[in-house]
């Protein structure tokens, strides 16, 4: 029972940050049809910014509770700055090009951004344990858990609800769905599609940054952070169905729990299982497990 609960909670925590990152990726893909490899760098930038400033603030004697503000602030600033520069400066000129070529361009961006982190923050790892230490730990049904890790699940749930509300219950959501459905008609109807693209990209980038910033206190923030997470979010997004928030949620829970199960019971297959699921889904349901089947050219 205790093992089961540990696996479940580990899995959900892992799913939570995967979901936050993947939600950004899938929104960008859904609206703009860009499979953004550079998303991993938004995550890494978020993690580094948060870790750096949490450490700085702690040194300055500012109460650790502000660490949470730093996390939120890092996500917003990273998303705003990187998202704006990249969309306006580079991607804007690529929309008429081939989808796969855009993937390559974002791969180029990924390389550039990875090194920009090394230049900005150096190669030494950062530890920003303060927010995690602040929340201490609790005992749930006989096992001890960090409260910080549990709040991660709440944050992910909040992001999921927020996305759902934004997409289904606001005017902005209507516009987004209209743009997804038919970009050209939207332009004809007077919707400022370039603006929608910019805002979508910034929003997606913020989610990527938030994933990194929120996970930063629980890990050692070291180079190469983005490389692993981007490929995992690809798996999540593919499993759930590209462009679907619900799909990203289900995909991340599936992959998160499976991976936690593997880590605890069969550590040999930890990575294998994630990508095996991805292969199986791509082979049998390329449009994703829970996305509505669409006529497509495979």
């Amino acid at each position: 029972m205790a093992t089961f609960l540990t696996i479940l909670l580990d899995g959900l925590q892992f799913s939570s940050y995967l979901f936050i990152v993947s939600a950004g990726l899938t929104i960008i893909f859904g609206v703009m049809k860009i499979l953004n490899v550079a998303h991993g760098s938004f995550y890494a930038w978020g993690a580094y910014t948060a870790a750096f400033f949490i450490g700085k603030f702690s040194d300055m004697g500012i109460p650790d509770i502000f660490g949470f503000l730093v996390i939120l602030g890092s996500a917003i600033v990273v998303g705003l700055v990187l998202g704006f520069i990249i969309e306006k400066g580079i991607l804007r000129f690529m929309y008429h090009r081939d989808e796969v070529l855009i993937v390559l361009a974002t791969f180029g961006l990924f390389l550039v951004l990875e090194d920009s982190i090394l230049i900005a923050f150096g190669t030494d790892p950062y530890f920003a344990y303060q927010p995690m230490a602040l929340l201490e730990s609790v005992e749930v049904a006989g096992i001890t858990r960090d409260v910080y890790g549990l709040t991660l699940i709440l944050v992910a749930a909040f992001v999921a609800l927020g996305c759902w509300f934004l997409l289904n219950r606001t005017k902005w959501g209507d516009i987004l769905r209209a743009v997804i459905f038919d970009r050209e008609i939207c332009i004809a109807m007077g919707i400022n599609v370039p603006l929608v693209y910019t805002l979508t990209f910034i929003g997606g980038a913020m989610l990527g940054g938030l994933g990194g910033a929120y996970i930063a206190p629980t890990i050692s923030v070291a180079p190469g952070l983005g490389t692993e997470v981007i490929i995992l979010s690809f798996a999540v997004v593919v499993v759930g169905g590209m462009g679907s928030i619900l799909g990203a949620a289900i995909g991340s829970v599936l992959i998160g729990v499976l991976r936690a199960l593997a880590v605890h019971e069969f550590p040999q297959v930890e990575l294998f299982v994630v990508f095996a699921v991805m292969v199986i889904v791509l082979v049998f349901r390329p449009e994703g497990l829970f996305a509505p089947a669409k006529p497509r050219k495979i």
Binding site: G108, L111, D115, I119, Q268, V279, L282
Partner: protein, 313 residues
């Protein structure tokens, strides 16, 4: 049917001889650069064939890694050191894998093709990273290859062999691209339905090209492993390796079978100098180059060469 050598083949042969002869005079590190560049160029050659067909694989590190690990395993377990035997084993393993997976992958296009390849390569990565018997994250060291029973003292013989194999593959692919099935590359990219109406099976054509590219990537991994003297998952199978291979393909351009070799060499030089000049930012320089090529030189380096020499191939 007698197929005559064309200008490209002659250019390949001449440059091959020139590089081999120059190998006697250039310093050792330069020989290494050539070996890495030409080994990688073989994988790029295969990706180029796919790219002409409109397919981009973001996972050919799978075959690259299979080839490399095949060498490592037969070296460490069976003590096989002969360079050709190693190469053949790599090619056969990668080829069989490519042929079998081709049955699935030939039905995929665009982003799905890219992603499924990535997923497959990451499965192998996941297995190797977590398996002690396969070297885990440390990988294996590989002994120097022997040539027909002779064990050479330096890398020059290996270099010569790589050059000859590279030239042979380039000429072989050139012949293939000139054949009827080989010409079904751009045709498929432009209009699959029309190709089917002309009486060709698109699935079959793609399957053959995919298998060829798998064999070439296997050979590339094999030669790369032997030149480096070691294999490890992050430099052989991780998705960044696939990205690198695709990057060189874009850098080279699809214009000619010579392009991958030039592009690969330029990449190797670019990387070395970028690393020397700015160790913290060499990736950024490489990434920036990729963006520049995509924006300003969609035909790759080869299109520059075409412009300068006025050749159209």
């Amino acid at each position: 049917m007698i197929m005559a050598f064309d200008r490209t083949d002659i250019a390949v042969l001449l440059s091959c001889i020139a590089v081999i002869v120059s190998g006697l005079f250039i310093p050792d590190w330069m020989i290494n650069q050539f070996m890495f560049a030409f080994a990688r160029a073989l994988a790029v050659l295969g990706l180029m064939v796919l790219w002409r067909t409109g397919l981009v694989s973001f996972g050919h590190a799978f075959y690259f890694g299979l080839g490399a690990y095949a060498v490592a395993i037969i070296d460490n377990q069976l003590g096989v050191t002969d360079i050709f035997l190693r190469l053949i084993v790599s090619i056969v393993i990668a080829g069989i894998a490519g042929f079998l997976l081709g049955y699935v992958l030939r039905n995929y296009r665009d982003i799905f093709f890219a992603m499924l390849n990535t997923a497959i390569s990451m499965v192998l990565y996941g297995i190797i990273v977590k398996t002690e018997a396969l070297g885990s994250t440390d990988g294996f060291a590989i002994s120097l290859p022997t040539l027909f029973g002779h064990s050479p003292e330096d890398k020059y013989p290996l270099f010569v062999v790589i050059c000859i194999i590279a030239a042979a593959c380039a000429i072989g692919v050139n012949f293939y691209l000139k054949s009827t099935y080989g010409k079904l590359t751009t045709a498929i990219r432009d209009n699959e339905v029309r190709v089917e109406y002309l009486g060709f099976s698109v699935a079959h054509a793609i399957h053959v090209k995919y298998t060829i590219s798998a064999c070439l990537a296997g050979a590339a991994g094999s030669l790369m492993a032997m030149s480096l003297g070691q294999v490890d998952p992050d430099s052989m199978i991780n998705w960044t390796v696939s990205g690198e291979l695709v990057f060189i393909t874009i850098l080279s351009g699809p214009g000619s079978v010579l392009a991958p070799f030039i592009g690969s060499f330029v990449f190797e030089i670019l990387r070395t100098y970028a690393f020397e000049w700015a160790p913290q930012a060499w990736q950024a320089i490489v990434g920036g180059t990729l963006l520049t090529i995509i924006f300003f030189l969609p035909g790759g380096i080869w299109s520059l060469i075409e412009k300068i020499f006025g050749r159209k191939s």
